[in-house]
C-alpha cells in the first residue's frame, strides 16, 4: 500500500526541498450517500444494472425527481460525480414513455460531445430502448445532418453550430416541435463574453421553440459556483431549482501548498519537474498541469533528460480519441508514470484517475482548479495534489488563504444581458430567423429601445407581417460568439485566420512584438495593422511572455446606482475609458528580459465600472501617519483588481483599474471597469460584493511577507507607471479605514 504521508515526509529529505511546503491540508474522505427510494422502469433498471450501478447517489435521485416533476434543474456537484447519468436517465424515461420525444444536448467542446455520444450508445444497448443519437456540428457531413434532423431523437451539438442553424428552423420542425429536454453540460463555461452570447443564442432558440409550441425543460450542470441559480436563470431566462449536495464518495485528499519562491535559484517550472520525477520514481502515477503547451513540452523534456527510465509523456488539445484511448490504456497498465498537460485535459475528458496531481500555475478559476484536482484519487484511494502558484498577487494569496480554494462556492459566473453590441447583434439574428410581432423580442429582456435603433439604421422594417430583417449581410455571419461586437482584429498566420478577437483584447495581447497564446501554443505577433484590422502572426516556440504597459483615463458618463459606506461611497455606472499603450515587457520565469516601446493610437471604449469615491478626511488621516497617500491609493487599486477575478470569474485582463488622488470633483477615486466595449457584467457583480472584496484584499496585502510591496501583493504587471508611487503600508491603513 502506497502511503502519501510517507511520500511527503521523504520528499523533505530531497535536495530540491528548501521548505517550499507552506501547508498540507488533509481533506477527509467522504462516504457515498445513496437514495434507495427512487423507482425506475424495467428498462432503466437494465441500463443501471449494465453499468453495475445498484443505487443512485442522493444528488442523482434528487435531480431526477425534479426533472420528473417538470422543473428546470441545475446540478452543481463535483467533477466525476455522475452528472451524465442524470441527463441520460431523464431522456431515457421520456423516450420510453412517449415515442418521438427529442433531446438537445449542448456541449462547450467537441471532445465532450464525442465521449457523451459513446455513453448514449451504451445506454441504448443496455436498456434495450431504441433511439437515434448523433453529433451535429461543423464537421458533420451534410447528408448525415439531414438524416439527423429528420430521424435523431437526441442531437449533440455546440453553441456555435446552434447559432448557425436556427434560421433553418423549418427543416428542424419535427425535432423542435417534439423537443422535451435541453441539456447544457459544463455550463459554467458559458460565462463572460462567450456566455453572454450563448445566453442570447438560447433565447433565440426559445423564441423559435415557442413558435412551434414547444416548451422544453432545461437541465444544466455546472462547476460549484456562488451563484448557480442566478447564473442558470440569466443564461436561459428560465426559473431553476438547484441540486448541490453530492452523494458521491471521495478518498482522502492531501492538498500540498508549495511556495516555489523559497528556492529562488530554481524556477517554478523546474520545481514542477523535480516533484514530477520524485513522485513518479516512487511509483505514484502523476499528472502535472501547466499553463501552456510550451511549458508542458519543456517540463516533459527536462524530466526525460534527467530520468531516461521513467516514461513521461505530454498531452495537448486536439488529440484524436484513439490517441486518448491509447494514453488511457497505458496509464491504466502503469506503463506511463507521468503526464504533463495543458488544461486541454481538464474538460471532462476521461483518462482515468491518478495518484498525484501537480497544478503548476493557477488555472484562472477555482472551478478549473478543482476540475484539475479532480483527476486525483482512484477508487477511494488517498491522493495528493500539489499547488505551485506563480509570482502573482492572487495566486500567492491562495496558498496563504487556502480556505478560499476549499470554499468551492466562492466564485460567481457572470453573464451580461445588457451589452448593447451583443444584444443588438442577436436581436438582428433573431429577427432574421422569424419576423417579430412584439417589440420585445425576447420575453425577459426589454428590447424596444434597441429595436428602434436598428429600425432607424434600416436594418429592420415594420411591415404588415411583423418586424422583418432588411440588412444586406447575413447577421449570423457578423455576430461571433467570442466577441462583444465592436471592432475586431483578425489574427492571421500567412493569411490564414487563427482567431478573431476584439480590438480591446488585441491591444493587450496581440500588439506588435507580443507573444500571443492560443490553445496552449505560442505565436509571435509580427505586426498589428489597425487599419486593416489584422494582426500578422507566426508560430514560434518561445519561453517568454509579454505584458503591455498602459496608462488610462476614465470619465463617468452615467451613474446607475450607488451606496454609502463608512468613509466612502460606492458607485456603479457607465464610463468612457481611454487607454494609452506605451510599450511592453518581455518576461522569462518572472524576470524582465527586455522592454520595447509601442506606437499605438489611444484605445477608446464605453463600458461599465464600479468606483469608489473616498471621503476627503481619509487623505489627511493617512498623511498624518507619514504615509504616502498617492502611493497608498495606487497600491490599493492594484490589490483590489488583483483579487477581483476570485469573485467574478474572469481573466485578469478582463478588468481594468485606475486611481485618481484628485478626481474631477477634488475627491480621491478608484475605478475598476470591464475592459470591453459595452461591459460584460463584471463591475456590477463587484459592486454587489465589494465589501467582501475589500476584506479579502486587506488580508492579502497584510499577509504578504514582503516589506514594501511585491508582485504578490500590490505590484501590477501592466502598470503604466511602473508601480510608482506605491505604498503598501499606506494601502493597508487606507483600506482598513474604508471598512
Amino acid at each position: 500500500m502506497k502511503n502519501i504521508e510517507t511520500l511527503l515526509n521523504k520528499l523533505k529529505k530531497e535536495n530540491f526541498y528548501k521548505n517550499q511546503i507552506k501547508e498540507i491540508i488533509k481533506i477527509p474522505d467522504k462516504k457515498p450517500e445513496f437514495d434507495t427510494n427512487i423507482n425506475f422502469s424495467k428498462n432503466t433498471l437494465k441500463y443501471l444494472k449494465g453499468l453495475k450501478i445498484e443505487n443512485l447517489y442522493i444528488h442523482q435521485a434528487e435531480a431526477i425527481k425534479y426533472i420528473r416533476d417538470g422543473k428546470n434543474t441545475v446540478i452543481t456537484t463535483p467533477t466525476a460525480s455522475g452528472k451524465t447519468l442524470i441527463f441520460n436517465i431523464a431522456i431515457l424515461e421520456e423516450l420510453e414513455k412517449n415515442f418521438g420525444v427529442k433531446g438537445l444536448f449542448i456541449y462547450p467542446a467537441k471532445a465532450l460531445a464525442n465521449d457523451q455520444l459513446n455513453g448514449l450508445n451504451q445506454m441504448k444497448k443496455l436498456s434495450g430502448i431504441e433511439f437515434t443519437a448523433g453529433i451535429y456540428d461543423g464537421d458533420t457531413p451534410s447528408d448525415k445532418k439531414k438524416y439527423l434532423r429528420e430521424n435523431a431523437d437526441i442531437i449533440l451539438t455546440n453553441p456555435y453550430e446552434l447559432h448557425q442553424i436556427l434560421s433553418y428552423h423549418s427543416k428542424w420542425k419535427k425535432f423542435f416541435k417534439n423537443l422535451k429536454y435541453v441539456v447544457l453540460d459544463e455550463a459554467h463555461r458559458y460565462r463572460g463574453i462567450f456566455g453572454s452570447n450563448v445566453a442570447f443564442v438560447l433565447r433565440r432558440l426559445k423564441r423559435i421553440l415557442k413558435y412551434y409550441n414547444s416548451n422544453p425543460l432545461f437541465i444544466l450542470s455546472t462547476a460549484s459556483l456562488a451563484n448557480p441559480l442566478e447564473f442558470a436563470e440569466k443564461l436561459t431566462g428560465e426559473k431553476f431549482i438547484c441540486v448541490e449536495n453530492s452523494g458521491s464518495p471521495s478518498g482522502i485528499k492531501y492538498l500540498c501548498l508549495w511556495d516555489a519562491s523559497q528556492l529562488p535559484e530554481k524556477s517554478v517550472h523546474t520545481q514542477t519537474k523535480d516533484i514530477l520525477l520524485y513522485t513518479t520514481k516512487n511509483s505514484f502515477q502523476t499528472l502535472a498541469f501547466t499553463t501552456s503547451r510550451r511549458l508542458a513540452e519543456l517540463i516533459r523534456m527536462w524530466a526525460n533528460k534527467e530520468e531516461k527510465n521513467i516514461e513521461i509523456l505530454s498531452y495537448r488539445a486536439g488529440y484524436e480519441p484513439s490517441i486518448r484511448r491509447e494514453i488511457e490504456k497505458k496509464l491504466k497498465e502503469g506503463i506511463i508514470k507521468g503526464l504533463v498537460s495543458t488544461n486541454a485535459l481538464e474538460l471532462g475528458i476521461d483518462i482515468g484517475q491518478l495518484d498525484v496531481i501537480i497544478i503548476s500555475g493557477y488555472p484562472g478559476t477555482i472551478s478549473s482548479f478543482w476540475q484539475q484536482a479532480g483527476r486525483a484519487g482512484r477508487k477511494m484511494q488517498p491522493s495528493l495534489i500539489f499547488f505551485l502558484p506563480y509570482e502573482d498577487a492572487m495566486q500567492k494569496y491562495l496558498i496563504k488563504n487556502p480556505e478560499i480554494l476549499l470554499n468551492k462556492k466562492f466564485e460567481n459566473a457572470i453573464i451580461s444581458l445588457e451589452n448593447k453590441n451583443i444584444l443588438s447583434g442577436h436581436l438582428l439574428c433573431s429577427i432574421s430567423e422569424l419576423p417579430a410581432i412584439d417589440k420585445n423580442i425576447f420575453s425577459d429582456i426589454d428590447t424596444s429601445e434597441i429595436l428602434n435603433i436598428v429600425i432607424d439604421k434600416g436594418l429592420v422594417k415594420k411591415t404588415s407581417h411583423g418586424f422583418i430583417y432588411t440588412g444586406s449581410e447575413r447577421p449570423q455571419n457578423i455576430v461571433s460568439l467570442d466577441n462583444a461586437g465592436g471592432k475586431n482584429i483578425k489574427i492571421k498566420i500567412d493569411g490564414k485566420l487563427l482567431e478573431e478577437i476584439s480590438i480591446t483584447r488585441a491591444y493587450r495581447e496581440a500588439h506588435s512584438g507580443s507573444i500571443y497564446l492560443y490553445n496552449g501554443e505560442t505565436y509571435f505577433i509580427k505586426e498589428l495593422d489597425l487599419n486593416e484590422g489584422i494582426a500578422h502572426a507566426e508560430k514560434k516556440d518561445v519561453d517568454y511572455f509579454t505584458e503591455p504597459l498602459k496608462n488610462e483615463e476614465v470619465k463617468i458618463t452615467n451613474i446607475i446606482k450607488s451606496k454609502k459606506f463608512k468613509s466612502f461611497e460606492l458607485f456603479f455606472g457607465n464610463v468612457s475609458v481611454t487607454e494609452y499603450y506605451k510599450g511592453f515587457k518581455a518576461k522569462k520565469y518572472g524576470e524582465v528580459i527586455f522592454y520595447e516601446d509601442l506606437q499605438m493610437p489611444p484605445l477608446h471604449f464605453n463600458t461599465q465600472s464600479v468606483w469608489v469615491k473616498l471621503d476627503d478626511e481619509i487623505k489627511e488621516n493617512i498623511e498624518k501617519l507619514k504615509l504616502d497617500f498617492d502611493g497608498a491609493l495606487h497600491a490599493a487599486e492594484h490589490a483590489l483588481i488583483a483579487l477581483s477575478p476570485l469573485f467574478a470569474m474572469c481573466d485578469p485582463n478582463d478588468l481594468g483599474g485606475l486611481s485618481y488622488p484628485v478626481y474631477e470633483d477634488g475627491s480621491p477615486f478608484i475605478f475598476l471597469y470591464d475592459a470591453y466595449e459595452g461591459g460584460i457584467g463584471l463591475s456590477e457583480k463587484l459592486y454587489d460584493i465589494f465589501y467582501n472584496l475589500l476584506s479579502e484584499t486587506i488580508e492579502m496585502v497584510k499577509k504578504c511577507e514582503c516589506e514594501s510591496g511585491c508582485p504578490s501583493c500590490v505590484y501590477a504587471h501592466n502598470c503604466g507607471n511602473n508601480n510608482n508611487p506605491i505604498d503598501k503600508a499606506g494601502a493597508v491603513v487606507l483600506m482598513e479605514k474604508m471598512k
Binding site: S167, H169, S170, G458, I468, S472, N477, I478, N574, N606
Partner: protein, 317 residues
Amino acid sequence: MDFDSDFLKKFHNPENKKNHTEQNKKNIDTDKNKMLINEFNIDLGEHLLHPLPDKDYFISCYKKCFELIYGVREKKAKKFNEQNIKSLEDLSNDIKYSGFVKNLFKILDDGFHEIKKIFGRRFSSSHKMAFLLLSFFKKEDLLFLDIETMTLFPETQIITIGCGFFQNNNFKTIHLTALNEEGEYEILNEFKKLLETKKAFVTFNGKSFDVPFIDMRMSYYNIENNLNIYHNFDLLFFTKKAFKGLQKSFTLKEIDKNILKKYRKNDISGDDVFYYYNKYKITKNMNFLKPIINHNKEDILSIALLLHKLISVWCKN
C-alpha cells in the same frame, strides 16, 4: 450607456453604407406599390419546336440500363453488352438477376415517383436517365426558375423571382420584383399562384440555391408551400456531365458564350444586382430595376436554351 452603433454598420453591405437611412425614410412610406410584375413574350424561334423526350424513348433507355440493378456499375453493364445481353428483358430468366429485373419492371409500371426513388438510390443527379424523366412532363408543366437576391444567404431578402414557361406555343417570362420590404411577401405569394398549374422546375443550380432559398423565405413568412413535391431538373449537373472537359467554370454566362453561342447585350453581372437594387431603393427610380430584370430574363432564357441543347445532345435516337 452610450451605444457605439458603429457595430451595426457591419450588417449593411459596403455598397449600402452611403446615405442609406435618410433617403430611405423619405420615400418608403409613400410607396403604394409593393411589387412590380414584368412579362415578356419571347421568340425562341426554332428552339420552341424541339419536343421533350417522349415516353417510348425513356422506356427503351430504361430497359437498356443495367445500372439500375443493385450491384451493377458501369463496368459490369459493359460486360452484359459484350455478352450480347442487350436489355433487362434478356436477364428475366437469369437466376441471379430475374428478381431484380422483375422488380424494375414493376417500378416502371408504378410510374414516376417509384422510378424517381430508384434513380435516387442508383444514380448521381447528373445521370442521363435522370434527365430523361422529362418524358413524364409536357412542356406546359415546366417552370423555368431563377431568382435575384440581396446575398447568397436566405436570411436576407429576395429581390426578383423570375419564371419562364411555355404557353400556347410561346415562351413567356414573368419577373416578380419586390419594390419595398413589404414586397417580398407579395412576390412569394404571387409565385405560389404561378406554381399551381406547373409540375416541375427547370433550374440552373436551383437544387442548392433557388428552390431552398424560396423555401426558406416562405417559411420565414409562414407561407405554406409544397415546393418539395416539384421535381427539379437542375441543369447544372447535366451540363457538367454532358459538356465535361469543355470548360472549367460552369456559370450561366460562360455557358452562354461557349455552349449556347448566345451573346448577352448590356447585361450586368450577378454581383451588380445588389448595387442597382440599392440605387433603386435610395432613389425610387424604376430605371434602376431594369438591368436587374433584364439580367434575370437573360438567365431564364439561357436555362431554356440549355434545356434544348441538352435534349439535342442526349436524345438523338
